[in-house]
């Protein structure tokens, strides 16, 4: 006997994501899911964003990693509340892990939640965690061909922050080609070119982020 099911496999994850979204909306928290490959500069962008918005926005951070609490310790030095999630081998954050993290953060004291996903350009694209914005950190040394190789990730995000532009003179990277490909795969996406080392481009990114928070 055949039974028709037609159920979304990620439905259970999406339900908890909806609860996360509800909880954060109640406390007026704006959540950003930050995704990238390992070493693109997710933590550096988080740190630069905290510094750029100091005194303007109260920030909380959730750090997702397979193992270790190195990132959470680095972020804690900036004086913001932070929770580390260790996925223990899983390659992405899921909504139930965010639910646990939210229960351990002072939500009434947070306006902007930066959630750093596990370094990976494949799986995090598929798992909603209750975020308001999905952001991809790309970086110059990774090469300009990444949008072709990870179309789902590049198609899913609201903004792309291209990091390490201070390396453009030393690395073979076609910036115009990259921009064109990104706009083809995701016409609505916002593209920011930054260097976390020199601080170039961080201000426009931080300003845009603040504008998004006001729009909600």
């Amino acid at each position: 006997m055949e039974i028709k099911v037609l159920k979304d496999i990620l439905g259970a994850n999406d339900q908890i994501a909806a609860k996360n979204r509800e909880l954060m909306a109640k406390h007026e928290v704006f959540a950003v899911n930050i995704m990238a490959s390992p070493g693109a500069g997710k933590t550096s962008v988080v740190l630069q964003t905290i510094r750029a918005l100091k005194g303007k926005t109260r920030i909380g951070v959730i750090e997702g990693d397979i193992a270790s609490s190195i990132d959470a310790e680095t972020v804690a030095k900036e004086g913001v509340p932070v929770v580390q999630i260790n996925t223990g081998g899983e390659c992405h954050l899921e909504s139930f892990q965010i639910q646990n993290a939210l229960n351990n953060l002072p939500l009434p004291d947070i306006d902007l939640m930066l959630i750093e996903n596990v370094g990976n350009l494949v799986c995090p694209a598929e798992f909603s965690i209750g975020e308001d914005l999905k952001v991809l950190i790309a970086s110059v040394p990774e090469g300009d061909d990444k949008p072709y190789k990870y179309p789902l990730m590049f198609n899913t995000v609201d903004a792309i922050v291209l990091n390490k532009i201070d390396l453009l003179p030393y690395v073979k990277f076609d910036l115009d080609g990259f921009t064109k490909t990104v706009k083809t795969i995701n016409p609505k996406v916002e593209l920011f070119k930054v260097s976390c080392t020199t601080g170039e481009g961080i201000q426009p990114w931080a300003k845009w982020l603040q504008a998004q928070m006001k729009r909600k």
Binding site: V5, L6, I9, L10, G11, F127
Partner: protein
């Protein structure tokens, strides 16, 4: 690697439906998978074999219906299959393309005894 959590979620749906129908055994699971999700069928079957041990779905076969990545040109509305590289509209050479399919991840049906 995310096939493990996907297979777990899929199995939860399957077992719930099978229980509802008071079935004794699940013999087949029919999935609809969008090409763009990058879900690897061999990997799903591998995890399923482990996860279904001692459940009524033990030994169940998985069948995949792959949904090709389709797009629609925003300029001229032409629908077309998205090639791996270079998403250009074959009709008007437009470069702004909306993805219309290829992201699916569904349990379509199950076969039970």
């Amino acid at each position: 690697m995310h096939e493990l959590s996907i297979t777990q979620s899929m199995l939860e749906i399957v077992l719930k439906q099978a229980e509802k129908a008071k079935s004794k055994k699940v013999t087949k699971i029919n999935l609809i998978i969008g090409e763009m999700t990058g879900v690897v069928s061999d990997s799903v079957q591998f995890y399923l074999d482990i996860l279904t041990k001692d459940t009524i779905a033990e030994g169940a076969q998985v069948s995949f219906t792959l949904v090709p990545s389709q797009g629609k040109c925003r300029q001229c509305n032409q629908a077309f299959t998205l090639p791996e590289f270079d998403w250009t509209c074959p009709n008007c050479q437009g470069k702004i393309i909306d993805v219309t399919s290829g992201k699916e991840l569904f349990v379509e049906s199950i076969e039970v005894e």
